[in-house]
């Protein structure tokens, strides 16, 4: 058992952390959010240049052949820096699907993604449901030369600017069935697609996307017809890992900043960090952060090494980032007092990001129940 990064991974970590600290100040992020629809093209160009967009892809596909561990290293640093650009949507989730695409599909979509000229979004959630893949109602009907998509998707992250939409739709069965789901690679410019963009609470962007008689050619199908559920679950699992790494980074900053604030903020003539009640609560925050990091390690390594209980460990991680993360973030705001409630301080933005991470792909409760059922 070995928990240390190897030389290359350490260099990668140092380089991402250097970028975040040096080239991604909070003002730049704020500008990106409020003036650039949460996407700074210059930042994305640097990601491409530094090779981070190529990281998780096989060398024969033009990638760097990095493993899950490298992705975790990048995301933890992005979590610390509260990077708002849609790395997870495009590279982790979008890229996760494209890694499993066929050669023609890769040539069409993956090459520009790695180059930095393509944005992707996973159109999965729908209204009137709490994230559950089997509840998918949107359907794709077979036509002589392809498929006809009909339905709508809610809160598609990065959906406002994505060039490529990866759409989960029903090619047979009814909502609730765990068969009959298929995945499609859809050009966002296809006729019949309409988007209502919106901001998200954590400074990112999403869209409600309508599909009205959208005609797809047969080669839009990703993987096997009717076998989309398993693939979607695999990629969601990888996405949850990435969110977990980001959360671990964000939690480290929340803990650090809160402790620093408590050491310097004076009330009643002393630093508030000298109050025992607050000390004990910060000790609890510390333990929650450490336990989260432990589960990130467990889930990443078990998935990477394909252990039988990898899926369980990923559920466990999502439970912990949701529930431990919520508690730590709420305490960080509370201990900052009024300042924690301001848009000005970074604390609140970490709070919002952790709130969003919990809500995505099923919150702590959903994953705890999934864990319970799988481990009974």
């Amino acid at each position: 058992m070995d928990f240390s990064l190897n030389e290359e991974q350490r260099m990668l970590r140092d380089s991402v952390e250097r970028f975040v600290r040096g080239s991604y100040p909070i003002e730049l992020r704020r500008k990106s959010v409020h003036e650039q629809d949460s996407f700074n093209p210059e930042v994305w160009r640097q990601f491409a240049e530094l090779g981070w967009l190529a990281l998780p892809f096989a060398e024969e596909d033009g990638g760097l052949g990095g493993s899950l561990i490298e992705t975790m290293v990048v995301l933890e640093a992005f979590g610390k820096g509260l990077v708002v650009e849609p790395y997870i949507a495009t590279v982790v989730t979008g890229g996760g699907f494209l890694r499993r695409a066929d050669a023609d599909q890769k040539a069409r979509w993956l090459a520009p993604l790695i180059e930095g000229s393509l944005q992707a979004a996973f159109a999965v959630d729908e209204y009137e449901q709490v994230h559950d893949l089997t509840q998918t109602a949107m359907h794709a009907r077979r036509t002589p030369d392809g498929y006809l998509l009909q339905g709508s998707k809610a809160c598609v992250l990065n959906g406002d600017r994505a060039d490529l939409l990866i759409v989960l739709a029903r090619t047979s069965g009814e909502p609730g069935d765990d068969h009959g789901l298929s995945l499609f690679l859809v050009d966002a410019g296809t006729a019949g697609i309409s988007r209502k963009p919106h901001r998200t609470v954590d400074g990112q962007r999403g869209a409600e996307i309508g599909f009205e008689q959208v005609r797809l050619s047969a080669d839009a199908l990703l993987g096997e017809l009717g076998q989309g559920l398993a693939l979607a679950r695999t990629v969601v699992q990888e996405t949850v890992l990435a969110l977990g790494a980001e959360a671990v980074g964000a939690l480290a900053v929340l803990l650090h900043d809160t402790v620093e604030y408590a050491r310097t903020r004076k009330q009643f003539g002393v630093a508030i960090g000298s109050f025992q009640a607050l000390q004990h609560r910060m000790a609890d925050m510390f333990m929650a952060c450490e336990q989260t990091r432990s589960l990130l390690l467990a889930a990443t390594l078990k998935t990477h090494e394909q252990h039988a209980d990898a899926a369980l460990a990923v559920h466990a991680l999502k439970v912990q980032i949701g529930s431990g993360g919520r508690r730590v973030a709420q305490e960080a705001v509370q201990l900052h007092g009024g300042m924690g409630m301001t848009d000005e301080l970074a604390i609140g933005h970490y709070f919002k990001r952790l709130t969003a991470i919990d809500a995505l792909f099923g919150n702590a409760d959903r994953h705890a129940l999934a864990y319970a059922r799988a481990s009974a």
Binding site: D125, Y127, E128, Q129, V130, H131, D132, T134, Q135, A154, C155, L157, P175, G176, K196, H198, R199, T200, V201, D202, G206, E208, K266, Q267, F268, G269, A277, L278, R326, Q330, V333, Q334, G337, G338, G340, M341, T342, D343, E344, G348, F351, K352, T355, A356, A359, L360, F361, G362, N363, D365, R366, A368, L369
Partner: protein
């Protein structure tokens, strides 16, 4: 021992309901429904106050001789409950619930005659100048100084977390008039005109992107000495008097009950695995039940306090308990709302939910306010005396620790 409601109270409830049905306009009701904080849209809240004032109902807690309706404790509770049930926006509390009662108890006859009618009518919009950047939980350490110069105080310093200072034309507040002795003993309670030269107001944008709070700067601001409430250096006592009054009446349970009912309503429309609704999910409905049980308990705790008040006793430190329980439950209820939404909770459109906004909102209506409410509710355990301070009060005042 009984839960009996006298017929007269039923009749009074009917009277309130019919008044609300006739007078609470759709526009004002929308301001209540969309409010994501205890502070509704300022303009519409004031409009609503004017309507209530016309009926003599703007200040249920005030004594009759100053313009209160002369209601019993039960009547006030019924009135408050019906306002919540009708989704009326809460009135701005700084004048009616804070400054007014304080002037009634501690103000001079002249101050009462001048200010009280203008509070009732909404002509004056008050804000509260207490906290400072260095004086939050430790309010007594405040440093904004008022120096005597002839008939005036000359004020320098700054106040922070001043809710709606950018809407207000008046401020009541605490300033330091002496640096001698204990910190509490050099503080004076003053009334200010916000249009006095030297006052600058800077709104503070909150997590929910709404500028509800402000920082206020004082640069040689002259305030007539006649605007002092109580004696010089005795302002701490005035503030404490205000606090007792402010807390006594607060009731959280009715509002919490309605907020939770809304969560249940939309959770019943959310599907989970197997096509069941989220309310059929044992874990989620368990969490809802736990909140509902806590709210029922709080309802009876508040009833018990009311019945003590009715018997002429002071609720004392028990109001610290309802503040803690009420605010932490509110946080729990807003959390449940977010949890019921899944990814839709992320849709963020603060401008679209302003009353009267014509911006198109994305997603179902119930998703539009939940996140802003959740964010805003985090402040409830910070302001009004943080819950840490309240726990300290219980430990000291109730438990004698």
């Amino acid at each position: 021992m009984d839960l009996h409601i006298p017929a007269a109270e039923h009749a009074f409830r009917d009277e309130v309901r019919s008044f609300l049905a006739d007078n609470l306009t759709a526009e004002i009701r929308e301001a209540g429904r969309l409010a994501t904080s205890v502070f509704a849209d300022a303009g519409l809240a004031m409009a609503w106050q004017k309507i209530l004032h016309a009926r003599g109902w703007a200040a249920p807690h005030w004594p009759e001789e100053h313009g209160g309706p002369g209601w019993s404790i039960s009547q006030r509770a019924i009135f408050a409950e019906e306002l919540v049930r009708a989704e009326a926006p809460p009135l701005v509390p700084m004048g009616l619930l804070m400054c007014g009662p304080c002037l009634i108890g501690c103000g001079s006859p002249e101050q009462q005659a001048h200010y009280l009618p203008r509070i009732l009518s909404g002509e004056d919009f008050w804000c509260q100048g207490y906290s400072e950047p260095g004086a939050g939980s430790d309010l007594a350490s405040l440093q904004t100084f008022a120096e005597i110069d002839g008939d005036d105080y000359v004020i320098n310093g700054t106040k922070i977390w001043t809710t709606y200072a950018h809407h207000a034309n008046r401020m009541f507040g605490l300033v330091r008039t002496s640096r001698e002795g204990k910190a509490q003993s050099g503080i004076t309670f003053l009334l200010l005109d916000m249009n006095t030269p030297g006052i600058t107001v800077e709104p503070i944008v909150g997590l929910d992107e709404i500028p509800e709070q402000c920082q206020v700067f004082f640069d040689n601001v002259r305030v007539p000495r006649s605007n002092r409430v109580g004696e010089e250096n005795q302002g701490w006592g005035v503030a404490k008097y205000l606090l007792t009054f402010e807390r006594g009446g607060a009731e959280y349970a009715p509002m919490l009950g309605i907020q939770l009912a809304r969560v249940k309503q939309f959770a019943a429309c959310q599907k989970i695995a197997g096509g069941r609704s989220l309310m059929q999910d044992d874990l989620f409905s368990y969490r809802v039940a736990r909140a509902e049980i806590d709210i029922l308990a709080l309802e009876f705790t508040e009833n018990r306090i009311k019945s003590e008040l009715g018997a002429g006793k002071s609720p004392g430190a028990l109001s610290s308990m309802t503040k803690i329980l009420g605010t932490e439950l509110q946080q729990k209820v807003t959390e449940l709302a977010v949890d019921a939404l899944g990814a839709q909770a992320l849709i963020w459109q603060p401008r679209a939910i302003e009353p009267g906004s014509t911006l198109p909102a994305v997603g179902p209506e119930y998703a539009t306010t939940a996140m802003a409410r959740y964010l805003n509710a985090r402040a409830t355990s910070i302001y009004g005396g943080s819950n840490e301070v309240q726990r300290g009060i219980i430990a000291k005042m109730v438990l004698g620790l």
